[in-house]
Symmetry: C2
Subunit: 437 residues, 2 copies
């Protein structure tokens, strides 16, 4: 008999079917047992006798039986198959499971983060955890749709690089045959090199950061969603990033309605025009609202980001706010200074519900200015030879931006730690398991 997906069973009342999936819960009442089985399409109640009582959570099973309509008062409106159940005739155990180390049957999996990650292959099976990664898949899809609409071509760029790409010490070194090489901190330099070829590009790429600290917002290996556009002005870049950000978020909302409801997150509020502030303007608003004077600071700290997002929501009815003009010295060397005030740069962050989810800038596109900027940061232009080659042969005004996949997922579902939004998070303490074990 061919397998029937669980979501199809309500259409097959009275028919004999075979389903396959994982046992979620087993409830035995005397000689009758109820077993919930989950496959990729949903969950189904199986009802039967002796053949079910030995089943345990996480057993992989095949069940043959007849789809029955449930009595009116037994209908479960919470699930898609709540109008039916499967009267089992034959059960085949495909794979047994060890005893559960904690309750996998509860609606919420209330585990401390270390336990959640130590048992990652098990906890990922819980429906609420699975939902995180279904949302993440839609973030990727929504981003790509938006990037394509902007005219970007998808590229696949390398992650092994001959030098520490963006400067700074937070870089992982690789033994590359008999040479030293480095994991790229972002696809940044390579996507820029593609502008003179494909003009508008996007890539979904790994970013490796040897962050020497553990925070709730950083991963040592993260996934970035990047765009880079040639022949654009600063205004056009702002329009482009707000377009991609808005479209990506809305795409998730449209495709994950049930999950967002399960996570009790409010509907998105994104006005037609995302509010824009310079960093200095944001600091002044924060001073006025809270009395906290950060107007002399060179960046927004996490509390500032939360406060200005509160302002955006209260005053502009917006979950998003774009902050521009960060101090030139605080941004990467390739960031273009504002010609009218070079102390500040043509840079931007996009904040979403209290957190930066995107960063980017107009870039320096002049070969000589770029060399000067590299030297100015105490770096050696010889380490950027391939990158500089692209500018030597003509580079139009260009810029781009980069979204953090895990951060967007985290904020969309209101998770408290970015590690919850990564299937197998890497940080200084953990690669699958904690090093200290």
């Amino acid at each position: 008999m061919e397998r029937t997906l669980i979501c199809e069973t309500p259409k097959k009342i009275g028919e004999e079917v075979k389903i396959a999936g994982f046992v979620q819960t087993v409830r035995a009442h005397g000689k009758i047992a109820f077993v919930d089985v989950v496959d990729r399409s949903g969950v189904l109640q199986i009802v039967g006798g002796a053949e079910l009582v030995d089943l345990k959570p996480q057993f992989a099973v095949e069940v043959e039986g007849v789809v029955k309509k449930r009595p009116e008062k037994m209908i479960n409106e919470k699930i898609k198959t709540g109008t039916v159940e499967l009267e089992s005739k034959k059960v085949v155990v495909l794979s047994k499971s060890e005893e559960m180390p904690f309750d996998m049957g509860a609606e919420e999996l209330n585990l401390e983060l270390p336990t959640l990650l130590d048992y990652r292959t098990l906890t990922l099976r819980h429906s609420k955890i699975k939902e995180i990664f279904k949302v993440q898949a839609k973030v990727l899809e929504g981003f790509r749709e938006a990037a394509k609409e902007l005219g970007c071509t998808e590229i696949s760029v390398p992650t092994i690089s001959a030098s520490a790409t963006e400067g700074g010490a937070e870089v992982f070194m690789v033994d590359y045959y008999d040479h030293k090489a480095y994991m790229t901190q972002s696809p940044q330099l390579y996507k820029q090199m593609l502008v003179p070829s494909l003009e508008r590009v996007f890539t979904i790429a790994k970013a490796y950061r040897a962050e020497p600290s553990v925070t709730t917002r950083h991963l040592s290996e993260a996934t970035q969603m990047d765009c880079e556009l040639g022949f654009v002005s600063f205004e056009e870049l702002l329009d482009a990033l707000e377009f991609v950000g808005t479209k990506t978020l809305k795409y998730v909302e449209e495709n994950c309605e049930k999950i967002l409801k399960d996570y009790k997150v409010p509907p998105l509020k994104i006005p037609a025009k995302v509010p824009r502030l310079t960093m200095r303007e944001a600091q002044k608003i924060i001073l006025k609202r809270t009395g906290v004077d950060h107007t002399g600071e060179k960046d927004l700290d996490p509390e500032d980001e939360k406060e200005i997002c509160k302002w955006a929501l209260e005053e502009k009815d917006s979950d998003l706010v774009t902050i521009t003009h960060y101090p030139t010295k605080k941004r990467a060397f390739y960031t273009a200074p504002d010609p009218s005030d070079p102390e500040y740069s043509l840079s931007y962050d996009l904040l979403f519900r209290g957190l930066e989810i995107l960063s980017g800038s107009q870039r320096i596109n002049d070969y000589n200015k770029l060399i000067a900027a590299i030297k100015d940061r105490g770096m050696d232009p010889a380490n950027f030879e391939m990158y500089l080659q692209a500018f030597k042969y003509g580079m139009p005004p260009e810029g781009g931006f980069s979204f953090g996949l895990e951060r967007i997922t985290m904020k969309l579902l209101n998770l408290s730690n970015v590690r919850e939004a990564s299937l197998f998070p890497r940080d200084m303490e953990r690669v699958d398991f904690r090093f200290s074990r």
Copy 2:
């Protein structure tokens, strides 16, 4: 004035427009000059006078002017804008370029591979080279469409791992804080761990192989397109991989008609049923056709792959052929042996026009058998603890496959070296530039 994309100009005859792009060629005839300008949408001929004569190839420019219909005899049918030209009124040079080190204006860029790669940011601007990566973008898109149709959810898995994933010495070591870690040789183990969660998954991921040799088919950092499916039989896996392979290739053919013509590659030949052979059957056919007796060999060598593809084309009218049942010892430890003859495995390769573009297998899904298989290869199960955890808690029959993005691109365009199908190829001799320089 707003920028007009070059592909829009034939619809704007008589109108004043501004275009932006890169100078491709400059032809001066006395006081009249003809300049071809390229943007992401196409190429356009600009005609004008003194304002054009100082332009050089690869200058980034903005040109304002009036779109004119070309006289009948001047129409160029080779390009989409061949019926029009732009009479220039104003030219702004956005960025100058150095002198070209070779002729970028020719229809073909006939360079030796080292030169092609040493000047990568320049050679990627040539239209024939650009086309390779437009095809590559469509391979990615086609693969994702097919994987989604199979019911797979997209995942993003880590590339830094605590141990050398699949065994073997060909692995890159990373300094990971104060620990040794390794770049994954493939997303294999992680995608398997996701089967009990999302049941069917796909991922586009980097694969790092410290291959100690330089061949035309291998890269040290390659891009893989992977699927993994739970609750499937060997037959269903074969159907699935042939479905994804066929759909991906046909998607490219449908979306890259002009490029495939430029590359003079014949139309795809894929029958409704892709021919399937066991490795032993393939060796017998090769013996019969060529007299070369490889029937005792444990694998097909590159010449065998070419010969059996020739057979598939001549006898089955097919560019694809699936080879199954490679010797168990020749495949990775997680490959399931064929229960009816454990010396051979439930493995498969998909060959396309003479080259393996996909590899995969039914996996061992039994916890104890998997531990035995790891030990059998002289490896320590303790190094696979997170992976084994997934099997400890119930793993259904499952399997999957993996396509090489660069290899498919290479074969689709009949390129002679896989490096031509990678934007910035990495091998033992090169990271952007050759080490020996």
